[in-house]
């Protein structure tokens, strides 16, 4: 029997760190009977929350790697991806959003919309993910869900409206008023599992009526039927209200706001009702794939189980059960024993075991269909690969992947650690496209690079814990780049004659700056002066030269190499001779092309009480930061600036002492910019000294 896709929800839970999203997920699993006891994130029972299955996550109380889980609620199948909150791990958030249809945006009722919520919201907007908001922690001192809702409107520019209101706040937070049903809901029983729906307390009746009226006015624009019913007056069928809210939410023109306290077991079941009622099912969302046989032309995936299979591997994990590949199916069916194709490698892959993941436990299944998020065993692939049925050359559109901005050397302490480290790095680079690794041929050191200090810290910890790879980490280094600023010609002959067959190759042409992209090779040879078989050798030679620039040893980007002349020898020319000729040519032209050093510039947002605004700006100025602007919110201010990453090491400590710990900051990569002359000279000097010292 065909699965009813209207009852499927693929949702993510995203928010600022410490907003309580892991606790919320834990409660969702409890109320949907997937787990039978509640464990807190940093609980005294030592078990830890279900979704934080990695040791490190349990210890630090933060979610580092998203885990997918499946549950069901009132006849709806819900796939949940728990996503990390720290900005260093946003690739995880972005990947989750890529495969999800809807999301819950969790906010702290005290902290409100914080900087990370803004980043997450921007990501959700990029992938057009409809969302509902959950204002958590209403039991905390200073809780103010109304203020948070206003911030959603002002800071995130969402048309957010509360569809519930709290009954009491802080210590007196007792339950909620549902403004659609116009009922008060209390959460009884040891774990809030028994819902008691009663009349709204008299003291809140007027406020509830007022808020409902404002809500109806707002949402009636999404439904003519509701508008008519409102104009006619009298009782309004809740189904009309649900329908209007759903339409507004799916069109990304309305964000319903729920309230509660996950920790106090209040407000979770109505939120689940909201997921089922307002968030989209797979067929509500339009997804596109690229037709590889038609020059990557976009086409709409059908969500139909009878069509040819298309699925995306969005996450790899190496856990206790071996390698797991999380996939989302967009059309077609996948069954155990099927053979599918990896669009990137063209390789055939046979599907062995197919499982539905429940955090770190799993359930064997025989097949899955459109909209499903499941995991496969023993598949060799990279994150972001597309799998299709035979005869369908398609790929899901590529994900936005930022360039790494920070790197450090890792040195294994012994031979065993060396072997284990290799295994670990191999796994991590497959799992996380923002994590890269390479060997510095001059120093022989293994270098890892990523999106921030914490990002790399976590991988070093994981190497130690999961792979028993004891490593020493060097100081973090900024990932500089080198590039050229003007055209420069070359005409280089590589000639070697030392007995036996010699080496001969001549290449001529020019290097020039490339505005977009890292490298381009242009073959403008006419008349066969360089034989066809040696053209790829030239390309390879240039590419080898890009690995390390001569100014500060950074990778070279933004270069177009054009060859338009050359010469060969019938006996002495070879692949290696032309590779070496190209390398010689590059060396000859590079320094004449006025190379410069580029550094990563970070977009930094510091949020704190207004009284510290001056000193915060001063601190950013001192760090070569360019203040873009300030946002005055009343009692607190956000300062936005662009600051070189090299100046941001240790900023959290400096900021803490400047602001008595009252301000916080986030940063994300913005762009690469040329370093000032004085710093460029310093970097060159340092690199020369290092080279001499070797």
């Amino acid at each position: 029997m065909a699965r009813d896709l209207s009852k499927v929800r693929n949702i993510g839970i995203s928010a600022h760190i410490d907003s309580g999203k892991t606790t919320l997920t834990e409660r969702i699993l409890f109320y949907t009977n997937r787990i039978h006891a509640i464990h807190e994130v940093r609980g005294k029972d030592g078990v830890g929350a279900k979704m934080d299955s990695m040791e490190l996550e349990k210890e630090r109380g933060i979610t580092i790697q998203s885990a997918a889980t499946y549950t069901s609620w009132k006849g709806h199948d819900i796939n949940i991806i728990d996503t990390p909150g720290h900005v260093d791990f946003t690739i995880e958030v972005e990947r989750a959003l890529r495969v999800l249809d809807g999301a819950i945006l969790v906010l702290c009722s005290v902290g409100g919309v914080q900087s990370q919520s803004i980043t997450v919201n921007r990501q959700m907007a990029r992938y057009r993910v409809p969302r509902i908001a959950f204002v958590n922690k209403c039991d905390r001192t200073g809780a103010n869900p109304q203020r948070v809702t206003s911030q959603l409107r002002e800071k995130l520019e969402l048309n957010a409206h509360m569809i519930q209101m709290p009954i009491g706040l802080e210590n007196d937070f007792d339950g909620i008023v549902d403004l659609v049903k116009m009922k008060a809901i209390y959460f009884d029983g040891d774990n809030g599992e028994i819902l008691r729906e009663v009349d709204i307390p008299a003291a809140l009746a007027d406020e509830a009526a007022e808020r409902r009226e404002a809500l109806l006015e707002e949402i009636s624009m999404f439904s003519e039927e509701l508008m008519e019913a409102v104009l006619e007056g009298g009782d309004i069928d809740p189904a009309l209200i649900y329908d209007a809210i759903r339409k507004g939410t799916l069109a990304l023109e309305f964000t319903p706001v729920f309230v509660g306290s996950a920790y106090k077991n209040k407000g979770i079941q109505p939120l689940l009702d909201g997921v089922a009622a307002y968030l989209p099912c797979p067929t509500d969302v339009v997804n596109f794939a690229l037709d590889l046989s038609k020059d990557e032309q976009e086409f709409r995936v059908t969500n139909h189980p009878d069509d040819k299979l298309i699925m995306l591997a969005f996450k790899l994990e190496d856990g206790r059960y071996g390698q797991l590949t999380y996939i989302r199916t967009y059309q077609g069916r996948l069954s155990k024993g099927d053979t599918v194709f990896n669009s990137r490698t063209g390789k055939k892959v046979k599907i062995g075991r197919l499982v539905r993941m429940h955090a770190d436990e799993m359930e064997e299944i025989d097949s899955c269909g459109p909209g499903d998020i499941v995991a496969l065993f023993g598949i060799d692939c990279a994150s972001g690969d597309t799998f299709t049925a035979e005869g369908l050359a398609a790929s899901m559109s590529s994900m936005h992947i930022p360039e790494p901005v920070i790197s450090l050397a890792v040195i294994p302490v012994d031979n065993k650690a060396q072997t284990n480290m290799s295994k670990a790095l191999n796994r991590f680079t497959k799992e996380d496209p923002t994590f890269r690794t390479y060997v510095d041929h001059e120093t022989g050191e293994t270098i890892i690079s990523g999106m921030g200090e914490l990002h790399l810290d976590v991988y070093i910890e994981r190497m130690k814990r999961e792979y028993k790879a004891e490593v020493q980490a060097g100081a973090p280094q900024v990932a500089y780049r080198e590039t050229i600023t003007m055209q420069s010609p070359f005409d280089y002959t590589h000639k070697k004659q030392t007995g036996g067959s010699g080496q001969y190759g001549r290449v001529a042409g020019y290097l020039e700056p490339l505005d977009e992209g890292e490298y381009e090779f242009v073959d403008a040879i006419v008349g066969g002066v360089i034989p066809r078989e040696y053209i790829p050798s030239c390309d390879k030679g240039f590419q080898k030269s890009l690995a390390k620039g001569s100014l500060c040893g950074a990778a070279i980007t933004g270069v177009r190499a054009v060859i338009n002349d050359g010469a060969s020898h019938s006996v002495d020319s070879s692949d290696i001779a032309f590779q070496l000729a190209a390398q010689g040519a590059f060396k000859e032209a590079y320094l004449k092309a006025r190379p410069v050093i580029m550094e990563p510039i970070m977009k930094v947002a510091v949020e704190g009480p207004s009284e510290f605004q001056g000193s915060v700006m001063g601190s950013l100025n001192q760090r070569r930061g360019m203040i873009i602007g300030t946002v005055e919110e009343g009692t607190y201010t956000v300062v936005e600036a662009e600051v070189p990453l090299s100046e941001m090491f240790g900023y959290s400590t400096a900021l803490r002492s400047l602001t008595q710990g009252k301000a916080e900051f986030t940063m994300e990569f913005a762009t690469f910019k040329q370093v000032p002359k004085s710093i460029s000279e310093e970097l060159i000097k340092k690199y020369q000294a290092e080279k001499k010292g070797q």
Partner: protein, 231 residues
Amino acid sequence: MAKEELISGNPLRVLGLDNKAEAATQSLGLVMARAGLGKTAILVQIALDSMLRGNRVLHVAIGETIEKTRERYEDTLSKMVGDLSEEEIGELSRRRMIMTFKEHVFSRGMLEERLKDLIQQDVFAPDCLIVDGYDFDGNGRKHLEDLKQLMAELGIAVIWFSAVCHRDDPRVSADGVPAPCHTIDDLFEVILLIRPKDKVIKLDILRCAYCEVEPGTTLLLDPSTLLIQKS
């Protein structure tokens, strides 16, 4: 177009801003129009012209986000610029800072506090202020006089404001300055009014203390780019 040409070829030159307005301290300028006709676009061109001439500009956007304000500068610059180098563009952005306020949060007192913070902490000392979204209905003559005093104290040469006028409000001053600024027009040295007429958008110079042209002279706005053109 090189930087010098961008400055000398700018139609704003007729206002005489470069040699007089900013040399004399505490000048106030005003751009008026009905909603949606491009007041901010004019203010941004005035700001860019000032920045190109080496001044530092603080853009105070009331009820607008940093991102949108920044985009306006980038858009306008890309429309104006021929061949400014990346270095020159970078240098130009260093001469600008954006300060945004929520409508309900903005007050003269708060602006004063923030300005003093910026200048005293040696973060940014503006020569020119652009105040977009100022509420002329709610703030009268006294506020503007106080602001002039503050300018003298902080060494700010010029402040440009935008003001919204309404089609259905017939009040005007003797010089033709519409409400809500008709009773305070004497405080401004330069007043420009954006006026759409027969598919063209005109920029009337209602008052101009330093102008090389007679008051009543009109500039034009390109309707697609909203760049100022000579009539």
